[in-house]
């Protein structure tokens, strides 16, 4: 608020702290809060499957003592103690693990519970990765908190390089109008603010529903027929289940159907804002390239 005042004060504080032996680390989380730890985090609880993947990517998987249900990646995460689900955290279980850092999901965990955790003196870091850049910077920031900068920064760098490579390759490719299907009943897609939209654009696609107001809008079949996408990409219920796509096969008038551009991308690689998004991005880019070849 008042930078002229704050700067000298923080300079004094900094000087005072640098004299003491503790190495305090501070980062800014995705809610623009400053999160500080007296020493590197050694007991971490991750309150969303995505946060679990991020902290592992940051190279601090060994320090994770608690996760929530559906934390299924990487494999090691499955054997970590569960503290309930991301919508309802078992507060007792969490406190009993005596964490020094809790990674919360800004829009996924109930506010009542995250507020309560802060009242109880827990240190919370909120994640809310909304694009490639915040995924990478989350990895770096978490690595700073966990004292695993070397591994974390490397991983973030690889991720950024991978994204740049795709961007370079497809930025001049002829655009492909794409409908991305998040859910089947009700039919749901994503608007221009969603990170999946960014993946579509990265591959030279054009999200036909980018202009809708809601992040994950509910739409009807008619609007898909009206938009006539050149490719339909669906996540789906499982890693192999293509059921959602077969429903589109009866609409011969759809360009996507007539050219057989009904594609499946494993949802775990694209619907979670984690480093695996690069993998999903590569898959999607390949599919869109196929769509271009079928013109």
């Amino acid at each position: 608020m008042i930078p002229t005042l704050r700067a000298p004060i923080s300079a004094v504080l900094l000087a005072a702290f640098s004299l003491s032996a503790t190495a305090e680390v501070c980062v800014t989380d995705d809610r623009d809060r400053e999160v500080c730890l007296d020493q590197s985090a050694e007991r971490i609880v991750a309150l969303s499957p995505g946060a679990t993947e991020l902290i592992w990517a940051a190279g601090a998987g060994d320090a994770v003592v608690g996760v929530v249900s559906y934390s299924d990646y990487p494999e090691e995460a499955k054997s970590v103690t569960s503290v309930g689900s991301h919508t309802r955290v078992d507060m007792e279980k969490l406190l009993s693990l005596k964490p020094d850092l809790v990674i919360a999901w800004a829009t996924g965990n109930p506010k009542e519970q995250t507020d309560r955790l802060q009242e109880l003196g827990q240190t919370l870091y909120f994640t809310e990765p909304r694009d490639f850049d915040t995924i990478a910077s989350n990895i770096e920031r978490l690595a700073t908190l966990a004292g695993t900068e070397k591994a974390g920064n490397e991983r973030a760098q690889t991720f950024r390089a991978g994204v740049d490579e795709l961007r370079e390759r497809y930025s001049d490719a002829p655009p492909v109008p794409v409908f991305y299907q998040v859910w089947d009943e009700p039919l749901m897609t994503i608007n221009g603010e969603h990170f999946i939209h960014e993946v579509v654009e990265l591959c030279g696609g054009e999200n036909v529903f980018a202009d809708l107001d809601r992040l994950v809008p509910r739409i009807d079949r008619e609007s898909v027929l009206a938009a006539d996408p050149e490719a339909i990409i669906a996540g789906g219920m499982g890693e192999e289940n293509r059921d959602w796509l077969t429903a589109w096969e009866e609409y011969e008038s759809l360009t996507a159907t007539s050219r057989d551009n009904l594609f499946f991308v494993p949802p775990s690689t694209i619907q979670r804002p984690t480093p695996r998004l690069l993998e999903g991005g590569k898959t999607m880019c390949k599919k869109l390239e196929q769509a271009r070849d079928r013109r």
Binding site: S69, S82, V83, G84, S85, T87, R88, V89, D90, M91, E92, K93, L95, S96, K98, T107, G108, P110, K111, E112, Q113, D115, L120, R214, L215, V216, R218
Partner: protein, 340 residues
């Protein structure tokens, strides 16, 4: 329960012996309530051995156990007890007011108004304090809306109040559905849990507890008039009860109780409908006894249910409404089957 029941069966005889004898079931229920509260504090997903629990109570426990017991379990148990008590009392009052055994605290739309207030606060992303305030305001708004509309220009009857309330409640229902349909995806789980009723939202138990005690004290002198009213307004009027003011008092009281209960823990179902009936089956229909019994019995049932909801599939947490129904339905059916 069996203790309470034998007492109830002896009651006609014992009234002649001592005027306090009929209130003995309250002592049993209070004991049951205390046991439920103790259980709620003693068990959870983290096991605390009895010796350690004693140390915590005497103020010598470890800091983790202190936090678990005093910051998490105790406030939640008390909030559960207060909410259950408020709901059961509100249900009993509504059943007398509307002379309809199907009446529950929510039938006149109080919870609908509160839900709209709470969900609006969630959509706006406000803090927990504003959420409670907004829910309470919604409940009061609904109460006065129904009050004003039922008053209308014509004559006033409980049937008219019931119809007005039910229609207003359906209106709220439509607004809730609309909010759920257009609400952002990430807010939906919180909204649904609130609608199912969930003590995770309980901030502080004190307002609800204080109101519970106050209303208990207030309804005891009203008990006699309520007993007469339960037999019908004509009889009540013939016996010198001011029916209309009494009915409005019941309506406002029941709405206030419901509003605070819903504000504390969302719309928890079942307790308000079934606990009064359950107690009437066992204790008879004397309002002087039933209303305080509802406060104790409803409180004990909800505390017990919430304790189970916390531990049944821990660390996953169940909504408390699931357990209240699973516990209450068989108990109620057994009581109903055995009556007469």
């Amino acid at each position: 329960m069996t203790g309470a029941e034998t007492l109830a069966q002896k009651r006609p005889v014992s009234v002649a012996v001592s005027p306090w004898r009929p209130f003995l079931p309250l002592v049993w229920l209070a004991l049951f309530g205390v046991l439920a509260l103790l259980l709620a504090v003693a068990v959870g997903s983290v096991a605390i051995p009895p010796a350690e629990l004693w140390a915590v109570i005497t103020g010598e426990g470890s800091s983790l156990h202190n936090t678990l017991v005093w910051e998490l379990r105790a406030p939640r148990a008390l909030a559960g007890f207060a909410t259950g008590g408020l709901l059961a009392m509100a249900g009993a009052l509504m059943q007398i007011l509307l002379r309809n055994p199907l009446a529950d605290p929510y039938v006149l739309g109080v919870s609908g108004g509160a839900a709209v207030g709470a969900l609006a606060a969630m959509l706006a992303g406000t803090g927990a304090f504003l959420l409670s305030g907004s829910a309470f305001a919604g409940a009061l708004l609904s109460t006065f809306l129904v009050f004003g509309l039922a008053h209308g220009t014509g004559s006033w009857t409980p049937a008219r109040l019931l119809l007005t309330g039910v229609v207003v409640a359906s209106g709220w229902g439509a607004v809730i559905t609309l909010m759920l349909a257009v609400g952002p995806k990430d807010k939906l789980p919180g909204m649904l849990y609130w609608l199912m009723g969930d003590l995770t939202y309980a901030q502080t138990p004190w307002p609800a507890l204080v109101l519970l005690v106050l209303v208990c004290l207030l309804v005891i002198p009203l008990g006699r008039s309520l007993n007469v009213l339960a037999r019908g307004p004509l009889q009540a009027a013939a016996l010198g009860v001011a029916v209309r003011p009494l009915e409005w008092t019941i309506y406002i009281l029941a709405s206030l109780l419901t509003a605070l209960a819903v504000t504390t823990a969302g719309s928890i179902g079942f307790v308000g409908l079934v606990v009064p009936h359950m107690l009437r089956l066992v204790l008879g229909n004397d309002q002087r006894l039933i209303l305080p019994a509802c406060a104790l019995g409803g409180g004990a049932l909800l505390t017990l249910a919430d304790t189970l909801a916390r531990i049944v599939i821990a660390p996953e947490q169940l909504p408390v409404g699931v357990i209240t129904a699973l516990l209450g339905v068989p108990t109620f059916l057994v009581l109903l089957y055995r009556s007469r």
